[in-house]
């Protein structure tokens, strides 16, 4: 196969970054991640995540309302910083506006709470499947 910058990175264990302070939402996500054997790194707020770096991570799972900003604002900040990672936003099943805003900000999907488990398993399963044999590199280049 032709060497390619995207495919020559070091393999890293898949880790999902969880952002948000809602305890129930965290528990739902944890359950899905445990089921798939995906590691996690948790962040209380958008600022906490922005202050960190995440080489080798699998995806972001962001609660739509964070203590310091909305998921949409966080995605916009990440984009400005040139940090790309598939983002799944958790929104209440009635909050269409938050869902639309998050999609406009480039989210991969918006998953309804509390029916999160199945959708998360589907997305993470797909992201993991695509990692096999083709580990991602950190960030852009």
């Amino acid at each position: 196969m032709t060497p390619n910058p995207v495919e020559t990175g070091r393999p890293r264990p898949p880790i999902a970054c969880l952002v948000g302070h809602d305890v129930a939402a965290r528990a739902e996500v944890r359950e899905a991640l445990d089921e798939l054997g995906v590691g996690r790194r948790s962040y209380e707020s958008g600022a906490d995540l922005l202050a960190d770096d995440w080489p080798g991570h699998l995806c972001l799972i962001v609660q739509s309302q964070l203590p310091d900003m909305t998921a949409t604002e966080l995605l916009a900040a990440l984009r400005r910083a040139g940090r790309r990672l598939p983002a799944i936003v958790l929104a209440s099943d009635t909050d269409i506006e938050a869902a639309v805003d998050a999609m406009r900000a480039g989210a991969l999907d918006v998953v309804e709470r509390p029916r999160t488990r199945r959708a998360l398993l589907r997305h993470l399963g797909r992201l993991l499947g695509e990692l096999e044999g083709h580990p991602p590199t950190a960030g852009g280049h």
């Binding site: 790309r84 269409i96 869902a99 999609m103 406009r104 309804e112 083709h134």
Partner: protein
């Protein structure tokens, strides 16, 4: 090319909604055409004319989502603002994933809808103006890596990421990453926009 006025197309099977939106949009000076079905709309719609589409999700016959698919297949870049009486999150997400610029629930405040329509019209104006800048498009294409260019060519002939992954012998995720980078470097707002830029670039200078 002659500058044509931007038109707001309203597609809703509910005549009362069509009438009230016609009055509302005219009152703010926006040219408006209303249609009671997707078929009626398709008969008079010209993808090369500037404007936007205010589209009801649920309609008898062809639904709003189905009409969106038809327009995507025609590489229409005209922005769509969905309106719906009984929307849910998955429906909104699906519409946005398919390229809608907005999604609003009835009942909405008049001003809210007007703001969103103006935003959609502004986006349409920008996209069309950029398509007229052939040099800029060529410059952007020149900034792509050979692999990105390869992915762009396959994407714009309508191949799915999965198929491209097979063609190039890379993972689907890799294709997605290249594809995202192509969209970003090209400044493409949608797949249809990218297709149009490629067509524009291929034209005899």
């Amino acid at each position: 090319m002659k500058e044509r006025p931007a038109t707001v197309f309203v597609v809703d099977d509910d005549e009362a909604v069509c009438t009230s939106l016609r009055l509302l949009l005219r009152s703010v000076g926006l040219p408006v055409v209303t249609c009671n079905s997707a078929d009626e709309f398709l008969k008079q719609f010209d993808a090369d004319s500037p404007g936007c589409i205010v589209l009801d999700i649920r309609m008898p016959g062809m639904s709003g989502i189905e009409l969106q698919q038809v327009l995507n297949e025609q590489n229409s870049i005209t922005p769509i603002v969905f309106i719906t009486g009984h929307g849910d999150v998955p429906m909104a997400v699906e519409a946005m994933q398919a390229g809608a610029v907005d999604f609003i629930q009835k009942p909405f405040r008049d001003q809210d809808l007007i703001d969103r329509i103006n935003r959609a019209l502004e986006k349409d104006r920008k996209t069309r103006a950029e398509l007229g800048e052939r040099d800029q498009i060529l410059e952007r294409i020149a900034s792509l890596t050979p692999r990105e260019r390869e992915v762009m060519e396959l994407v714009t002939v309508g191949k799915a990421n999965k198929v491209i992954a097979g063609d190039l012998d890379v993972s689907q995720r890799t294709v997605e990453i290249h594809r995202a980078r192509v969209m970003e470097k090209m400044g493409a707002r949608s797949l249809a926009h990218l297709v149009r830029m490629v067509i524009e670039a291929g034209r005899e200078g």
